[in-house]
């Protein structure tokens, strides 16, 4: 395989991100690094959501639920063993002595979230469209109630605090790169084509031999895995967890990122996630200075509605920037008016 233009573009992008992270770790303040860390985590969440929601057309709002699972599982695993005894008295014996490092704990969080997604997916994925959306919203509420009530293991509504701050920007952007790599390779494979076919027309896809139940479940579980990882990274960045942090507002924010980026566009979702994180962080001082609480949410909601009315397909529709795409997927100029309608991917 010869070196092509998109390889060069990817290499430059990777080098730029590595340089940026190295610079941030060396020079930026703790607050600035935290904001950047959140931008990275949101980018990963938005990419995985764009994969399962945008590309496969499973309109799920369940990402915060899977983040909750991943975050709590990872935090309980890494929690200092000497404090587990009195903070989390109901933990089983073998778990109370564990004190894992970040990577295995994150992985375990992701796997646990994916497992929950598979279990919940069996009934829930049979629903379509907005039924699925509301059922996954229900999943958030059910998990929140469970965590609130299992206070011997999770400290309930009080929240789990004093989680070691293991997450740094290298971990976040490393996971982000892995997430993008996996989703990207899947998108441009036969699997991605099957998922896209399910989104466009489920019955036609089934007629063409796409195993739709299995494919949907797999896409859902993959999205949940990265949501779980995101939750775990979040927990070890913020050092505290409450069930309330994984709210429906968060689900909404993630959906906005996907819609603004263009459903199914991975790079679009990442760009939108970073932009929205910085935008809301920049507006926060304004919000406090004027005393206008809720301003950030209002701006984002107006942005979303304007986007849906004026450019419903989002920044990139389902496609990726041409520069990063391998040659066969690059857009050719339409030669005939009938080709203009064709959607790029």
């Amino acid at each position: 395989m010869s070196l092509q233009r998109h390889h060069l573009a990817w290499g430059l992008l990777a080098a730029a991100v590595v340089a940026l992270v190295a610079f941030a770790e060396a020079r930026l303040s703790g607050y600035e690094r935290t904001v950047m860390g959140f931008a990275g985590i949101y980018a990963m969440l938005a990419i995985s959501l764009s994969f399962s929601n945008g590309l496969t057309g499973l309109f799920s709002l369940g990402h915060p639920a899977f983040m909750m699972v991943g975050g709590y599982v990872a935090a309980i695993l890494t929690f200092p063993a000497n404090r587990k005894g009195f903070m989390l008295p109901a933990l089983p014996e073998w778990m109370a002595t564990l004190e894992w490092s970040l990577f295995p704990a994150t992985l375990a969080g992701g796997v646990a979230a994916a497992a929950v997604a598979v279990i919940a997916g069996f009934p829930v994925l049979r629903l379509r469209g907005h039924y699925l959306a509301v059922a996954t919203l229900g999943l958030i509420i059910i998990l929140r109630v469970v965590i609130n009530n299992a206070d011997g293991v999770t400290r309930g509504a009080l929240g789990l605090n004093g989680i070691p701050r293991h997450t740094d920007l290298w971990w976040i952007f490393g996971w982000l790169a892995l997430c993008l790599f996996v989703c990207w390779r899947l998108k441009y494979s036969s699997v991605g084509r099957s998922l896209l076919a399910i989104r466009e027309n489920e019955m036609a896809a089934a007629c063409m031999g796409v195993p739709r139940a299995r494919a949907k479940l797999a896409a859902f579980a993959l999205g949940a895995f990265f949501a779980g990882v995101g939750g775990a990274l979040w927990a070890h960045l913020l050092t505290n967890l409450t069930p309330g942090s994984f709210s429906i507002t968060l689900a909404f924010m993630l959906v906005v990122m996907v819609v603004v980026g263009g459903s199914g566009s991975l790079i679009g979702a990442a760009i939108a996630a970073v932009a929205i994180t910085f935008l809301s962080e920049a507006l926060r001082p304004v919000e406090q200075a004027v005393g206008a609480y809720g301003l950030v949410q209002i701006v984002i909601a107006v942005l979303l509605i304007a986007m849906l009315l004026l450019r419903p397909q989002g920044l990139f529709a389902s496609a990726e920037p041409a520069l990063l795409r391998p040659a066969p997927f690059r857009a050719r100029r339409p030669r005939h008016p009938s080709q203009v309608e064709k959607r790029e991917v």
């Binding site: 059922a135 909404f252 959906v255 301003l295 949410q297």
Partner: protein
């Protein structure tokens, strides 16, 4: 378990179910006509509660004025939302409308926080509404009796309207097939606006009654009843008015029985129970009690 205890639970279920039914009918009507899950429905309910707060407690007008006001404000607000947010994208995919309604909901909640502050305010109805009545050993407040009566009257009126009037028939025709309805000379947009107005009016009324039960109001209060209205509508079969009423009462009874029969320690699982029930019902009867089977076309 004495019979008066049981009667008390039945009455509680009836009252809670009435509020859910009011909200669910509007939800179902809007879905039936434009296939839109309107997430902002609960926030119309919230605005209704705040309107009632202003009319009753700030200006001190009587109850009938408050009822009139919440009906009007709810109707106008819902029509406005339709006009600004949903009408421009009638032909877009269904999911877009749903996402838009999420956006409208977040917008309204935060405008509420911005303009009215996020702190809960006490919502105390006049004393005569809160006084108790004895019915065969069970107790109900006047407000609860009023709630049930208003709900039944309004729902009966709505049924007559949809069945009998020209506009009602136009609405049903639009729900059946918008293109064919337009070809028959029905003003489709007006029919849709009517559905929004009726749904909004009922949501506003539900807001008044819900706030009266809860005893306090705040800008985020619409979310939970909005979701429960959705659950009720789904149980009944989205799009069916009779189904929505049935679903509302069923949900009300199920919730009251869950809290009343389970040991108190499980009371906090109430919302988890409601959504567990929703998922279960969607699995066993994807079209709800009264819904029609949706055909799948390639």
């Amino acid at each position: 378990m004495t019979s008066s205890y049981l009667l008390q639970q039945v009455l509680n279920g009836l009252v809670l179910g009435s509020v859910y039914a009011l909200a669910a009918v509007g939800f179902s009507m809007i879905y039936g006509i434009v296939r839109l899950i309107n997430f902002a429905h609960g926030d119309v309910l919230m605005v209704g509660a705040f309107t009632a707060f202003g009319i009753l407690l700030v200006f001190g007008f009587p109850l009938w004025a408050a009822v009139l006001a919440v009906l009007t404000i709810g109707a106008i607000l819902a029509m406005l939302i339709d006009l600004v947010a949903f009408r421009p994208q009638r032909n877009a995919p269904q999911v877009n409308g749903f996402i838009t309604s999420l956006g409208v909901s977040i917008l309204m909640q935060n405008l509420g926080i911005l303009l009215l502050s996020g702190r809960p305010r006490p919502f105390n109805l006049p004393d005569w509404l809160r006084s108790n009545l004895e019915i065969a050993g069970a107790r109900m407040t006047v407000l609860e009796v009023v709630t049930v009566v208003i709900t039944l009257v309004v729902l009966a009126g709505l049924t007559l309207f949809v069945r009998g009037t020209r506009l009602g028939i136009g609405m049903r025709a639009t729900a059946e097939n918008p293109t064919a309805a337009r070809l028959m000379g029905i003003r489709v947009n007006r029919a849709i606006a009517t559905a929004f107005a009726l749904g909004g009016a009922l949501a506003g009324l539900a807001g008044l009654l819900y706030a009266g039960r809860a005893g306090q109001i705040h800008p985020l209060m619409g979310f939970v009843p909005g979701l429960k209205a959705f659950v009720a509508a789904v149980i009944g079969g989205v799009g069916s008015l009779v189904g929505a009423v049935l679903g509302g009462y069923l949900l009300g009874f199920a919730e009251v029985l869950f809290v009343g029969l389970m040991p108190p320690a499980y009371g906090s699982y109430r919302d988890a129970f409601v959504f567990g029930l929703l998922i279960l019902i969607l699995l066993i009867m994807p079209n709800g009690l009264m819904g029609r089977a949706a055909e799948e076309r390639a």
